[in-house]
């Protein structure tokens, strides 16, 4: 299955966090790469959505039943994506 990107889950993230999230930048705790949430590789399946680092493919976030859990992706990034 082709991966989508974080843009595809912008609405669900907005619903989970109460504000727009795709331009927020985070750092992969595995490889150190920084990327906006919009740039994460996103795999959408029935039960849940997995977002991975675009550089090393480590899991950055899991989104299921309206709740998002970040793991391996530090949101205290160096700044906004723009």
């Amino acid at each position: 299955m082709d991966a989508l990107d974080g843009n595809a889950i912008a609405g669900d993230l907005f619903a989970a966090f109460g504000h727009e999230m795709t331009a927020v930048v985070g750092t992969c705790t595995s490889c150190g790469a920084t990327s906006a949430i919009a740039e994460l590789r996103v795999y959408i399946s029935g039960p849940g959505t997995v977002a991975r680092c675009p550089d090393c493919t480590s899991v950055a976030m899991v989104l299921a039943r309206g709740a998002a859990r970040f793991s391996g992706y530090d949101l205290a990034g160096p700044g906004s994506a723009d």
Partner: protein
């Protein structure tokens, strides 16, 4: 919904009247949710095709024959019907006319939809920046908004190039086949112009285009991408 516009054999524009709509930024999308009588729900994201300046919000949707949502939106929905939508959504793949130029837009297939919103926003601006568009479609008949896009080249600031990958009319002088390095070099802004670049299309197209752009010398952080795929059906 107030109107349906047939764009191509597979794509239609839904023109919506949304009381209380807060306005949007070019490049944003909305989520549409359909609920069946038995309570089953399906939700998909669709890019906004209209500019913030347009009177109505327009969504342009390509029908995926095995999709759950797009066949209903393109074949069943009629003017006067209501839709459940949430938005505007997205803050990354957006462009504002106040940003410095130049602007490079690269689309594959229905990836042209959010870029069309950007272009309409651009030509509505007081002092538009210069924009170049590279649009890859299967054939001229599949190229959504082709008349409008080619019409925009009447503006000095806008250049539009269409590449056709599968079929082309006799005497077609544009690019034939998938986009490649020679085409990118010939029709897009060179890296020294420092364009803001937006690429939208199917995942494989976006990744190939982004790779070509980086190979050409563009900084990765100057390239914003948006991928769509079968889950968008």
């Amino acid at each position: 919904m107030v109107d349906v516009v047939v764009e191509t054999a597979r794509a239609k524009s839904l023109v919506l009247d949304l009381p209380g709509w807060p306005g949007h930024r070019a490049g944003q999308h909305v989520d549409i949710r359909l609920t069946a009588e038995d309570g089953y729900q399906a939700q998909r994201s669709y890019s906004i095709a209209s500019a913030p300046e347009d009177d109505h919000l327009t969504l342009t949707i390509e029908r995926l024959d095995d999709g759950e949502v797009s066949p209903y939106l393109t074949e069943v929905l009629e003017p006067g019907d209501e839709l459940e939508l949430r938005g505007p959504i997205g803050g990354y793949f957006v462009w504002e006319a106040s940003l410095s130029g130049p602007l490079q837009l690269i689309a594959g297939g229905s990836g042209i939809v959010p870029l069309r919103a950007m272009l309409r926003h651009l030509v509505a601006a007081d002092r538009p920046v210069a924009a170049r568009v590279l649009y890859s479609a299967r054939s001229l008949d599949d190229a959504i908004f082709r008349e409008e896009l080619l019409g925009l080249t009447a503006y000095d600031e806008v250049d539009v190039q269409i590449a056709l990958t599968r079929a082309w009319p006799a005497g077609w002088s544009g690019h034939r086949g998938r986009i490649d390095r020679a085409l990118v070099d010939a029709v897009t802004w060179p890296p020294q112009e420092r364009p803001r670049i937006y690429v939208c299309g199917p995942t494989a197209f976006v990744e190939a285009a982004a790779e070509l752009l980086v190979e050409t010398g563009h900084r990765p952080d100057s390239i914003k991408t948006e991928r769509f795929g079968p889950t968008g059906g």
